[in-house]
Amino acid sequence: MKNFKLFIFSTLTIVLGSCQPDPVNPLNQDYRNGVLVVNEGPFQTGTGTLSFAHFKRTASDSTYAFLDVFQTVNGRVMGNIAQSAVRVGGYVLVAVNLAGTVELLDAKTMQLEHTFTGLGLPRYFQALPNNRVALSDWQDNRIYVLDLTTKTVVDTAQVDAGPEGMAYLSNTPNGDVLLVACSGGYADNNTVVALNAQMNRIKTITVGDQPHSFAQDPSGTWWLLNQGKPDWITPANGTPGSLYRIDANALTASLYATSADGSLHPAHLLCDGSGLVFVSDRYAGSAVRMPLGSTVWPTAPFLTGASYSLAFDALKKEYYSGKIVDYSGPGRLVRYNVQGVALDSVSTGQIPGFILPESH
């Protein structure tokens, strides 16, 4: 009986222990239990990386990070300029910009399942129904539809220059609609292209200069953040960033708020449930917060320090900010509570440009 109790105790210890994250071995992880950070890597002469961070939330837990889980797990590099990522079904997809690829990974193990090649300059993802994902691409100003079941590109659509962030609007009077912010890419543009479920253009909406990203608030209203057009010679003469409200039924957009500073060009819009949060300038701006209902453009930093990337975990009510330290070494991922107070931080790969929280 004593041996039996010992056996049960030992078994439980092993089983429960195996449920805990392993802070040492990157090959023995459940990568759904943490934050993924897409790091751009050095421009032109390097490769992007995928970092993983697990933050301590219980007494028996610990905080740890792995800087390059893609190469560690799969034995090869990810390619030049990793751009963004998305979790869909049991997969994580990573867009690698100059490599023209999308890496399809098992969300739990980070094992490489497939590489979509032959793309141009992939930028951002938007999950679609039926295990499909839309991908914006600057090369030929296209939207690609990736089918994760067949692991093929099943559709494309031509949009305006520089497609960036997307929003999927279901059950509108026009049916399911995919909105694509067309920033102009390396030039300038000011349109949002609406595509129907067949990926046909049904409308082109004029918005502010260089539209970048969408967010939806709890009332169902969609918001669009426009970066504004920079003036490289006299920065103050640039067109300022702006916030547009989208009417999903009429497929129209109306100006809601405008920045007073034409030298700053905001990016990375998200909604935390009671406010809109974005980075005041895409290169070295601070995260600012605009409460829903306010029309005053926010200027006071909400999160400390500059943010090169920004994310919000809606379940854990935490913000994440990606920090560039010196462009030639590791970056930093800082976790903040919902009041914007920094909690802790871990190292990431070089130039953390996109954050994928645990609950996304």
């Binding site: 002469t45 390619g79 030049n80 100059l98 490599a99 300059l121 290169y283």
Partner: protein, 581 residues
């Protein structure tokens, strides 16, 4: 803007004529700056030159042999040469005593060395280069260490196994030497991308055409040297092997250089005055997106110097302008005055003052430059030198669109060097050959770094670094055999620093036949991977004909000097030359 710059140019011409009216002159000022002012007795030479004389074209192997840091070695491709363990922006290139360095990028491309004048090139890594002006902390490449040289006339053909070839003609006359070089390297070779897919490199081709004339007239105690260089380059830049396969960007360079120097000896004084003018055009055509950057610069420099066995004085002035779609139009001038004591004492102090002025703003930066050298004659040559270093901002730093910062100050710092050697002359029968070592401690402040500020990348004076660089070289020559080995060791907090680098080789010559092998290895830096490469060669030469076969990177795998930019794992270059009587 351009019209308003005519007046300074006229002033420059006037100053030159005024100076020339004094009819005082001196030997080549490049050699004054290095060999005389600082009494640098020895330069790192290419010890295998005598055994490797059948190769007439300047190639990357020469740079590897001379201890330079390189990022590419493709025939005809861009060669950015770093000396003393520093990046290429700290290497100065001089021609007829004038800095050739492109004012836009602050760089000189090693591929600008004309193959017909390769043997007139000297490489100096001692601190003497500091005295010569901005951006010489790493060292100085003197393209006219000998203006005409002792070579006669010859013509050569070369062919590359990766596709393409070139032709060189050197024609020596009574009044000067004409050099012509044209090459086209297709540079197709297999490599493996990061996905493991085997591909054929395309779009990394290079077309080069260079014409250079060097003339010399002598009468009495006067010597007039003059020259002209025209360079046309059109080169494909390979895409990273971690990128999607496709054509890389393309770079086009068109340059004209012209210079004249009048030298005169009067009693114990050598007097020299010179003028140099240039025009350049550079364009980058991006392939991934339809972007094109281009800019032009033009400028003129004048210098006047006098050298005495006990001292040296000099002043100079530059005026330049830049314009084009990727630059704001601007004009910049800089000037210097310097003087040094030398000759009789063991302590040889020098002092220089330089000033730099960007016309568009009120930003001005007077800067002192001081150096001194000490030598003990009885200790087989040990020298200690200290020098203040400075580097002007480049025109890109000042006026690039977007982001150029006209308020930048020059980089500045100090360097201390200890240099020792046991020359061949002191050890004619010693089996251990010739030893030379060099140790250089460098510190630089207000380093110019491009950082994102607001919406754009902007160069700012930020950060500093310190580096201690050491070099030991051994050369032995026994009858038909020659061997050499070199190791460089660097302690540094700079991201570009390479911790160590080694080079070793041997050569054998029997009658008309020559064979040799040389290997170079470099440790990884924060920015570059470690690599190992080798070269094998064999040749034959008669009174008029010579032929040499080079096998570059004679290793089973590719070599990457930059991450994900693989060079071919091996390729051959064949030279066939005919020497006229």
């Amino acid at each position: 803007m351009i019209c308003t710059q005519r007046r300074p140019y006229l002033a420059v011409v006037f100053c030159f004529l005024l100076a020339s009216g004094q009819l005082v002159s001196a030997p080549d000022t490049v050699r004054l700056g290095t060999a005389d002012v600082h009494a640098l007795p020895f330069h790192f030479r290419a010890p295998a030159r005598g055994l490797d004389s059948t190769a007439q074209g300047w190639s990357a192997s020469d740079w590897l042999h001379r201890g330079a840091l390189l990022r590419t070695t493709t025939p005809g491709g861009s060669q950015l040469v770093g000396l003393s363990g520093l990046p290429a922006v700290y290497t100065g290139f001089h021609w007829l005593g004038f800095a050739l360095t492109s004012p836009t990028l602050g760089l000189t491309d090693g591929s600008w060395i004309h193959p017909a004048f390769r043997n007139q090139t000297g490489v100096h890594t001692q601190l003497g280069g500091q005295y010569l002006g901005s951006g010489n902390l790493g060292g100085l490449v003197d393209l006219s260490a000998q203006w005409l040289g002792s070579e006669g006339s010859w013509a050569g053909l070369e062919a590359y196994s990766a596709g393409g070839g070139g032709a060189t003609v050197r024609c020596r006359t009574n009044s000067g030497t004409l050099g012509f070089w044209a090459s086209s390297a297709h540079y197709r070779y297999p490599y493996q991308d990061y996905l493991g897919t085997r591909r054929m490199r395309t779009g990394a081709d290079a077309q080069n055409a260079q014409l250079e004339w060097r003339g010399e007239r002598r009468w009495g105690a006067h010597t007039l040297r003059y020259g002209f260089q025209g360079i046309l380059q059109d080169r494909g830049l390979p895409r990273s092997a971690a990128s999607s396969y496709g054509l890389g960007d393309r770079q086009r360079d068109q340059r004209l250089h012209a210079g004249v120097r009048w030298e005169h000896q009067r009693q114990n004084w050598h007097w020299s005055r010179g003028a140099f003018g240039w025009m350049d055009f550079q364009a980058f055509d991006a392939r991934v997106v339809a972007l094109r950057d281009s800019h032009q610069t033009a400028g003129m420099r004048v210098e006047w110097s006098g050298t005495h066995p006990n001292g040296h004085v000099a002043w100079g002035w530059s005026q330049m302008a830049a314009w084009g779609p990727s630059h704001q139009s601007l004009g910049v001038w800089d000037g210097f005055v310097k003087g040094a004591l030398q000759g009789t004492g063991r302590l040889r102090p020098g002092l220089a003052w330089a000033r730099w002025d960007l016309r568009q703003t009120s930003a001005r930066s007077p800067l002192g430059n001081a150096s001194g050298g000490m030598r003990w004659k009885g200790s087989n040559g040990i020298e200690i030198q200290a020098a203040r270093h400075f580097r002007w901002p480049t025109l890109n730093d000042l006026a690039w669109i977007p982001g150029g910062n006209p308020l930048l100050l020059p980089e500045a710092g100090w360097a201390l060097e200890v240099h020792g050697f046991i020359p061949h002359s002191k050890t004619p029968k010693r089996p251990w050959g010739h030893w030379e070592w060099q140790s250089k401690a460098m510190h630089l402040t207000q380093s110019i770094v491009w950082k994102p500020i607001g919406i754009q990348w902007v160069p700012v004076n930020a950060g500093s670094w310190s580096q201690w660089w050491n070099r030991l070289r051994w050369t032995a020559h026994q009858r038909e055999w020659m061997g050499w080995a070199e190791v460089q060791y660097t302690l540094s907090n700079a991201a570009f620093a390479v911790p160590w680098r080694g080079n070793a080789g041997g050569a054998y010559r029997k009658g008309a036949w020559t064979a040799g092998a040389e290997y170079t290895a470099q440790a990884a830096s924060q920015q570059t991977p470690r690599w190992f490469t080798g070269r094998l060669w064999g040749g034959w030469q008669s009174k008029h004909w010579s032929v040499q076969l080079n096998v570059q990177n004679a290793l089973p795998g590719t070599v990457e000097y930059l991450p994900y930019y693989p060079n071919p794992h091996w390729y051959t270059v064949i030279n066939l030359n005919y020497k006229f009587k």
